[in-house]
C-alpha cells in the first residue's frame, strides 16, 4: 500500500501512522455534550466494508495529517488530501 501524500507524492505505508475514522466529529461544546454524544464520538464506529474516510499522519515524512478515502476490501486509495484546510488553497 502506498499513500499519495499531497506534498511528497506516493510514499510507502511504513512512513505513515494511522489516525482512525475521519468521519467522527468531536462534540462542539464538550462541557455541554451528553454522555450519548461522547459514547458516539469515542467508541461507536460504522466500520464499513467499502469506502472509509480516515486520518493518516505522514510521521516519517512531511508530518502532515492527511484525510484519505480508502476501500477497506481492497486497500485501494481513491483520494488523499490534507486534513486541515490550508491558506494556499489545498482544501480537504
Amino acid at each position: 500500500m502506498r499513500i499519495p501524500c499531497p506534498w511528497c507524492g506516493d510514499r510507502p505505508l511504513s512512513e505513515f501512522t494511522y489516525g482512525g475514522d475521519a468521519s467522527k466529529k468531536r462534540p462542539k461544546h464538550p462541557e455541554k455534550a451528553s454522555a450519548e454524544a461522547w459514547l458516539d464520538y469515542v467508541y461507536l464506529r460504522d466500520n464499513p466494508a467499502g469506502k472509509h474516510t480516515e486520518y493518516w499522519h505522514h510521521s516519517g515524512g512531511c508530518r502532515a495529517w492527511l484525510k484519505v478515502t480508502r476501500d477497506t476490501r481492497s486497500h485501494e486509495i481513491s483520494k488523499a488530501v490534507l486534513a486541515r484546510p490550508q491558506s494556499d488553497g489545498a482544501r480537504s
Binding site: 500500500m1 510507502p12 505505508l13 511504513s14 494511522y18 482512525g20 475514522d21 454522555a35 450519548e36 459514547l39 458516539d40 469515542v42 467508541y43 461507536l44 464506529r45 460504522d46 466500520n47 464499513p48 466494508a49 472509509h52 480516515e54 480508502r70 477497506t72 476490501r73 481492497s74 486497500h75
Partner: protein
C-alpha cells in the same frame, strides 16, 4: 458414532470404508427456537453447550461458507490464560480448564498440547510488569512461573540469550498449562457434538437481514429463505459491524487484519509457545514441523484478509532477532484474518436493545483460546436471558458507563490492543 479403540479396529478391518459422516447436512426448517448466525468456532461451541448444558436442541447454526473456513482455521492455535485484568483472567482460565477436558467431553481429539506458554522480557521495566502480572495470575489461581535468562535459555535453546542480542533477554514468565490445539479439529469436534444432540448445522446459508417486530426479533432472512426464530445469537467474528447493522446495532468495533505465517517443515526445534517481548511476535511449532507465527496488526481498518509488506518485514526482523536460527527458513504460507477489534481490547458477550437478540463478538485476536468459554457463557446468556457471572463484565453497556476492560491500557484505539 462413538469413537474408540474398538471403532478404529472395526473400521480398519473393513478398509475404512464405513466411517459415517461426522454431521448431517439438513435442509433448513421454517422455524427454530434458536438461530445462531455464524458457524465458526464460537457459534458451534455455543450450539454444543446450549444442547449439552441447557437441553436446548431445536437450534440452527447458519454458516455462509463452510465449517473451518473463517478465523477458527486462520489463527496460530495458541491457548493460554495469562491475562492481567481479573475479568479476563477468570474468563480465560475457565476456557483453559474446558480445553483440558474437551477431547474427552467431545469424544474428539482436539490435540491439546500443554507445552507451556512463555513470554520473554528484555528490560527491568518489562520484568517488573511480568512479575506484577505473574503475581496477579497466581492470586487468581492461574499458574505462572518466573524464569531468569538461564531458565529461558534452558527451556528454549533456540532463543538468542547472548548479551550481544539486539534485545538481550532478562528472563520470562511461563504459564506451564498454556500450549496449542489443533484448530480445525475444534470446529469439527464442536460441530459433530452439536449435531449429535440434534442441532442443524446449515452451511452455504448467508444471513441477509433480521425480522424485528415491535422491538423483538422474530427470525432471519437468508439466501436459502426466511427462518423464524424465538431467539437469535450473532456470533460472526470479523464481520460483527456489518451483521450488527442489519439489526440496527451500532458497535464499538473496528475490523483489522492480522497476518500469520508458516515456514517449511523442519525437525523439532521449539517445544514451547513463545512470545517475544521487544515486539509483537508469537511463535509455535506445529506437529507437521512448520513454525507458525504472527506479528502485530497491520493497524488500519480492513476486510481484505490480506495485509501489507511493512508488517511482513517487521515480523521477519522480529523473528530473526529473537531466534537467529530462523534466518534461512523459507515461508510456506502467509495469510490474513479479519479481527473484530473492540475499543478496549476485550470481548463483548451481551444482550442487545432488541428483545431475543444476543451478540457475541469483538474477540480482537484472542478469540481462539476463548472458544469453549465463549460458547459456554453465550449459551448461558441465550438460554437464561441473564449473563453468565464469568462474562457479565463483557456487556455492551460498559462503553456507556466507562467500566471498560483495557488490558493494554492504550485507550480507545483498536489498532493498539
Amino acid at each position: 458414532m462413538h469413537y474408540s479403540l474398538g471403532s478404529i479396529i472395526r473400521n480398519a478391518a473393513t478398509g475404512h470404508k464405513h466411517w459415517p459422516k461426522q454431521w448431517r447436512e439438513p435442509e433448513p426448517k421454517k422455524a427454530y427456537d434458536i438461530v445462531l448466525v455464524g458457524g465458526g468456532g464460537h457459534g458451534l461451541a455455543t450450539a454444543y453447550y446450549l444442547a449439552r448444558n441447557h437441553g436446548l436442541t431445536n437450534i440452527a447454526v447458519l454458516e455462509k461458507g463452510y465449517l473451518g473456513n473463517g478465523n477458527i482455521g486462520r489463527n496460530t492455535t495458541i491457548v493460554r490464560s495469562n491475562y492481567l485484568c481479573p475479568e479476563n483472567s477468570q474468563f480465560y482460565e475457565h476456557s483453559l480448564k474446558l480445553w483440558e477436558s474437551l477431547s474427552k467431553d467431545l469424544n474428539y481429539n482436539v490435540m491439546l498440547s500443554q507445552r507451556g506458554a512463555l513470554v520473554v522480557f528484555h528490560s527491568p521495566a518489562q520484568r517488573d510488569a511480568a512479575i506484577r502480572r505473574g503475581n496477579a495470575l497466581r492470586l487468581n489461581g492461574v499458574d505462572a512461573v518466573l524464569l531468569d535468562a538461564a531458565g529461558v535459555k534452558k527451556l528454549v535453546p533456540a532463543i538468542d540469550c547472548s548479551p550481544s542480542a539486539r534485545f538481550p533477554v532478562l528472563g520470562g514468565m511461563l504459564q506451564p498449562r498454556g500450549g496449542s490445539v489443533r484448530h480445525d479439529a475444534v470446529a469439527w469436534g464442536f460441530a459433530r457434538g452439536a449435531d449429535a444432540h440434534g442441532v442443524d448445522i446449515i452451511q452455504n446459508c448467508e444471513v441477509t437481514g433480521f425480522r424485528i417486530e415491535k422491538g423483538r426479533v422474530r427470525g432471519v432472512e437468508t439466501t436459502r429463505g426466511p427462518i423464524a426464530a424465538k431467539k437469535v445469537g450473532i456470533v460472526v467474528a470479523g464481520r460483527s459491524s456489518l451483521v450488527g447493522q442489519m439489526a440496527g446495532l451500532r458497535l464499538p468495533i473496528e475490523s483489522h487484519v492480522l497476518q500469520c505465517f508458516v515456514t517449511e517443515a523442519i525437525k523439532p526445534v521449539l517445544d514451547t509457545v513463545v512470545s517475544f517481548g521487544a515486539a509483537h511476535f508469537s511463535i509455535v511449532q506445529s506437529d507437521k514441523g512448520g513454525l507458525v507465527f504472527n506479528g502485530d496488526l497491520d493497524g488500519y481498518n480492513s476486510y481484505a484478509q490480506r495485509g501489507n509488506m511493512a508488517v511482513v518485514e517487521n515480523v521477519a526482523a522480529s523473528a530473526v532477532s529473537f531466534m537467529p536460527c530462523m534466518s534461512r527458513l523459507r515461508l510456506l504460507r502467509h495469510w490474513g484474518g479479519i479481527n473484530d477489534m473492540t475499543m478496549d481490547g476485550s470481548p463483548i458477550i451481551t444482550r442487545t436493545p432488541v428483545k431475543g437478540l444476543f451478540f457475541n463478538g469483538g474477540w480482537c485476536y484472542g478469540g481462539f483460546k476463548a472458544t469453549p468459554a465463549s460458547g459456554w457463557t453465550f449459551a448461558h446468556l441465550i438460554a437464561n436471558g441473564e449473563p453468565h457471572p464469568l462474562a457479565a463484565s463483557f456487556s455492551l453497556e460498559r462503553f456507556e458507563s466507562g467500566l471498560v476492560i483495557n488490558e493494554s491500557g492504550t485507550g480507545p484505539l483498536p489498532g493498539t490492543h
